[in-house]
Symmetry: C2
């Protein structure tokens, strides 16, 4: 089982249009620092699953048939906008799974094209792709949102965006099913004002300390938080990593390891 973080930015991405902060300036002169819309690719024996469809170049990244399914966390534009073009393609239909949200986004559900939207998933009711077990976990966000626990054999990855904190039942479930790798929303710098809709660094680290996963990767990064890292103002605890676009992690009999980053060459 392998996960590649295709996008690790918040809704504004990095660089923010017109911003010259340290993070945005750096990303503008070196594409390897760009943070695209938050999304990931999961590859396992059970198939290739795209986690969220916010990348606008999905049609260039994936050939028809490359993806066995698309898994949506929720229907905010930055998590689905790449589907607006993809849907009008030819080739095998792509099943799309996600939470109940009758509005969807724009006319996506009304005109699905080659996307086969499946009945909404139910919290904690697993679905399977071969041996890959996928369990929707309710999150706390401004739209109905699921994180996902992805399990194959003895290995598991929890992918939790977008969220502010965790609902008690999701936290309890993950304490019983400790993931090897936790990928978690960490949009904001540490703040004293309780953040809305997304974790700040304090809340993301609190989730890490509560769940005690093998390793934790912070994603959905804002340019403000990214700038603090660029200035080395933040040091992360052992076992906690800052996500980068194209960062990959593999889980197999050798355990969890970080893949050599292939470079942010796409897009």
């Amino acid at each position: 089982m392998k996960i590649t973080l295709l996008g690790t930015g918040d809704v504004r991405q990095v660089p923010v249009y017109g911003c010259d902060c340290e993070a945005c300036y750096r990303a503008r002169i070196d594409v390897s620092y760009v943070r695209r819309p938050c999304s990931a690719l999961l590859e396992s024996a059970g198939g290739r699953l795209l986690l969220d469809g916010g990348l606008s170049d999905l049609c260039q990244r994936f050939k028809p048939g490359d993806l066995d399914a698309i898994l949506l966390t929720h229907y905010h534009v930055d998590h689905v906008q790449g589907l607006f073009h993809l849907r009008w393609g030819l080739g095998p239909t792509i099943p799309v799974f996600g939470p109940e949200d009758q509005n969807g986004c724009a006319d996506l559900l009304k005109h699905p094209g080659m996307l086969a939207f499946q009945p909404p998933l139910n919290a904690f009711e697993s679905i399977y792709f071969g041996d890959l077990q996928l369990t929707p976990l309710p999150l706390q966000h401004s739209k109905p949102t699921f994180g996902y626990l992805l399990r194959e054999g003895d290995h598991s990855i929890a992918y939790l965006t977008d969220t502010v904190g965790l609902p008690p039942e999701t936290e309890a479930y993950l304490k019983q099913h400790t993931p090897d790798l936790l990928v978690v929303d960490c949009s904001h710098p540490p703040t004293e004002i309780p953040p809305r809709n997304h974790n700040d660094l304090n809340m993301a680290l609190a989730i890490h300390h509560s769940l005690q996963p093998g390793k934790t990767v912070l994603t959905h990064i804002s340019h403000e938080l990214d700038a603090m890292f660029a200035q080395k103002l933040i040091e992360l605890p052992a076992g906690v990593y800052l996500a980068e676009d194209q960062m990959g992690w593999s889980l197999d009999c050798g355990g969890l390891r970080r893949d050599w980053r292939m470079g942010a060459l796409i897009g």
Copy 2:
């Protein structure tokens, strides 16, 4: 006054994802045949106006301050999707004009960011950017849609997408104000079944013959129609041109002339 057609494709664009027809295959191996979401840039002494915001790379094409305004024909996704990211930028706000459509598209009107959505325009009531006069013209489409007559001095350009035929009052208005250049929706190959929402070639040519503009450019081209042109199955009447991405037309004291195409090097 100068217009550059930044995108000339229909909602599916060219190439269509997964399609290997003559037009799509050609566009995949030669980027100069790509047809992006339908949009244009108007440059005049009155300012630089973007006609529709469906290009997903607007943030790369335009620096903050480059655009004096954005003019929307309507709120279908392929005409506004580039604004989803642009709106979260920094810099001078960009006024956005368009027809009345309270739903807008997704959460664009609810969270406009740096976009300053103006009160809806009224049919046939002109607004001005310096000496540039801009008149909204009702079109026939599945959403409230305006075409625009753009006038500066003695010169005028009519930009009419998306539409199937023309409402009688719009046709009458344009017969009284014959444009030097007509840019018109021509999505479909000639068909015997009356098309819905978009012109086929017969309807686009009927509009050309009815209005008798200086020249006519066919845009919002589907891959089916594009494939017929690729196979040289269609010959256009004198004065009628098939649009290409990056095609430019200038209007000045020397009259109307086609600019040297700068190449479809962007995006």
